[in-house]
């Protein structure tokens, strides 16, 4: 079902855990739907110096959290904002179709953490691109 890369990131997640006194935090998902991701950022000079995550969810939820944090680490916030869910899925060697929503969740988590940082710093939050996919939008879980 899962690629080797997914299993590797699931069994050995990178960047797992809370960051003390983070500069931005984003929590997405819903326990009803069976997945919650919480992303923690430490930002220095507009760059993501460190990143951490906590995830309640399936294998793909953990693996996408791990991969997404890995991909944004060291990036500028602008670069990190551009990270798309498909890029996360691709970096994992693909995801089963029913699990794509996890990658969407990861993208949303990063965005939410970045905007949390911006708001804390008195900046306008960035807007999601129109047409961006949302996790669970066409699913039965009524979050």
């Amino acid at each position: 079902m899962y690629s080797e890369k997914v299993m590797d990131h699931f069994m050995n997640p990178r960047n797992q855990g809370e960051i003390e006194n983070p500069d931005g935090v984003g929590e997405v998902g819903n326990p009803k739907c069976g997945d919650i991701m919480k992303i923690f950022l430490r930002v220095r000079d507009g760059r993501i110096e460190d990143v951490g995550f906590q995830t309640f969810g399936c294998g793909a939820a953990v693996a996408t959290s791990s991969m997404a944090t890995e991909l944004v680490k060291g990036k500028t916030l602008e670069e990190a904002w551009e990270l798309s869910n498909t890029a996360v899925a691709e970096a994992l060697g693909g995801l089963p179709p029913v699990k794509m929503h996890c990658s969407v969740l990861a993208e949303e988590g990063i965005h939410k953490a970045i905007n949390d940082y911006r708001i804390r710093n008195g900046l306008e939050p960035w807007e999601e691109k129109p047409g961006a996919s949302h996790a669970h939008s066409d699913d039965t879980c009524e979050a």
């Binding site: 899962y2 299993m7 699931f10 069994m11 997640p13 797992q16 855990g17 809370e18 929590e27 326990p31 009803k32 739907c33 069976g34 997945d35 919650i36 991701m37 919480k38 906590q54 995830t55 309640f56 969810g57 399936c58 294998g59 793909a60 939820a61 953990v62 029913v98 699990k99 929503h101 669970h136 699913d139 039965t140 879980c141």
Partner: protein
Amino acid sequence: MNRNRLVYLDHAATTPTAPEVVEAMLPYYSERFGNPSSIYGIARDSREAIDHARDQVARAINASPEEIFVTSGGTEADNWALKGVAFADRKRGDHIITSSIEHHAVLHTCQYLEKQGFRVIYLDVDEFGRVDPAALENTITDQTVLVSIMAANNEIGTIEPIAACGAICRDRGVRFHTDAVQAIGSIPIDVEAMNVDLLSLSAHKFYGPKGIGALYIRKGVRIDNLLHGGAQERRRRAGTENVPGIVGMGAAIERASERREAYSRRLIALRDRLYEGLTERIEHVRLNGHPTERLPGNLNLSIRFIEGESILLMLNHAGICASSGSACTSGSLDPSHVLLAIGLPHEIAHGSLRFTLGESNTDEDVDYVLATLPPIVERLRTMSPLYAEFRRSQDVQ
């Protein structure tokens, strides 16, 4: 994955076909391969083999052989029972009663029947997953043509009060079907004593082959055919007979009946030890299903703050095969309808785990799970924002 050790704890999903059952099937592939409908000698061999298997199935549930009709499995049996009786009795009434915790083979068939204009009542169950016979009695109307209540639930293992339901239906002149797919081989089933009119079973749940099952239809029950075609199964179920499969089902059910008592005793002991060991070692665990009225091999737990599929993947990595009521595996986001029906909140239902024990399991297997699962739970909880939050709320108190 750990290829050295394999602890299979998913016998409710399917069982291995017992080697002696495979042995019994083998001659019917390439040697005694005749089509039972033909008149020459090798066809007679097939016919006799089928007759013998039909006897074996009938004996196991106290039916007579002419009441046993072979199907391609439990799903077809459930579909046939419900659609067949509903359409045959349509003129008598349009009302069907079932429970909210049936297998999808029953539930989705009921939904189909609703689209065809039938009214279906899905009875609630209590916190242990039991249907209330009194509620059934109150729900029957003079329009009710069929009641379908499973003998035992596949997820939480709860055994339903079938005999009580059967007696009520008999009293009220309503046909009573039970999905006994999980029950056969694990608990005693007697269609006479239990007043069952139709019963579904599936061979791969009791160490028989996959893709073969049966519907028991009491003599005199009116039922439409589901599959139309040749005159097989006394004109009731068309299609060239799966002779090796039928032989395997017969051998497996006889074997299961002989072993049932010792089998359940053994499984109950192993399961209880597993349950006690896990609750000693893991906090915030709850048992789903009935504490005593449950299938011998079934242990269904909710482990709070973590999600089922993650646990399964880590168990699999350690060579342990189990299943969960988490939705993730099925591709939907809603957790098991059974766990919701017994009142579990979504997030707790998502963290449920089902172990179903069977013939291969040993004390060592139990020890291995007791050693393996607690650190997995620990690890996943460390990762979980729900657990972090819970801990913070505890610290505050």
